[in-house]
Symmetry: C2
């Protein structure tokens, strides 16, 4: 069972903060991205979905005809990132990460198999990246996988300093709709062919 992992929590939206802020009402990054991608799909701008969590299904009860009921299953380690899709003919592939740190993003949050996957996507000329949220300062960055991989190749550090991210990643604008307009950044990256 080495590929079974203990998912600590199924993400739920946090309770509303006291300070109401339309740009970000204290929702999780996953929620914001789901709303953003739903919006992009609704206006025909991009087709990007979050993949379902991979599960190892052990037992299913078929007795009720209305709906088969899974009675035993376990979370598996995903072999890819969580989000992918197509925009303007380009393949987009990314993962979303949140940190409570004010000063750095811990690289332990990016798993080895994800780095391998991001590298493979770049080789196929896909646009691979991370979206990193610094929860406490309410900032979201788009970091190209090629820049992340270059950093890892050159550094033994176990985290990316926030100052490094500010210099090397793109700050994502927050708004009401879309919440995170990351496709504006992708437009810029496509234009400058920065993704490979």
């Amino acid at each position: 069972v080495s590929n079974l992992i203990n998912y600590p929590n199924l993400k739920k939206p946090r309770k509303t903060d006291k300070e109401i802020n339309f740009a970000n009402r204290g929702m999780s990054l996953e929620n914001d991205l789901n709303l953003t991608n739903e919006y992009y799909r609704s206006i025909g701008k991009a087709i990007i979905h979050k993949k379902p969590l991979p599960l190892q299904i052990v037992a299913v009860d078929y007795r009720k005809r209305s709906a088969a009921r899974i009675t035993e299953a376990y979370f598996k380690t995903p072999s890819t990132t969580d989000y992918n899709g197509v925009y303007r003919g380009f393949y987009l592939d990314y993962d979303a990460k949140e940190t409570n740190s004010l000063t750095a993003f811990p690289l332990s949050q990016v798993h080895q198999h994800q780095l391998k996957h991001l590298q493979a996507v770049i080789q196929q000329k896909g646009i691979a990246f991370l979206i990193i949220r610094f929860t406490k300062c309410n900032q979201d960055y788009l970091l190209l996988a090629k820049d992340l991989l270059a950093f890892i190749a050159k550094n033994a550090r176990k985290s990316l300093a926030k100052s490094w991210i500010e210099e090397n990643a793109y700050l994502i604008k927050q708004a009401l709709n879309p919440r995170l307009s990351y496709l504006e950044i992708i437009d810029q990256i496509i234009e400058e062919v920065k993704y490979v």
Copy 2:
């Protein structure tokens, strides 16, 4: 619970047929595609994965620290196709369908939300298609979504005649490795810009 569906069977490889045939040993189309995509990934040719089944998780038992155990979950209707990924910078998106019919492919096997998804992918310049297996004649066809959608727009028929598929789809070569060399067909489609 209208989005919960009764998945009749979790696909298992069928028992080996008596007649051993290296091109196709009686495996399911899903199995053949998984092996094919694994092979393509292993040689760095394309990064294409099958998406996990979407599940509605109702109850999880966290008592054992080693692995959280899902004790109640239900299958949900997928909102997309099962397979997607990137090849040569192109976004590929498809679903796999099998029929026992010798003469036709029933269109009831393609759900409305899948048609809508395939259409949206085409609009984003992705390459959208179906892989259809005629199990009894052991033939696999790659049918571009644009040709399927054009047929549906013009015809009230509830199925695609096999003769129509033979004329309008691409027969996929079967071999040992990759089992279904469908990327050869994609190369041809890219070259002739047939996908939009």
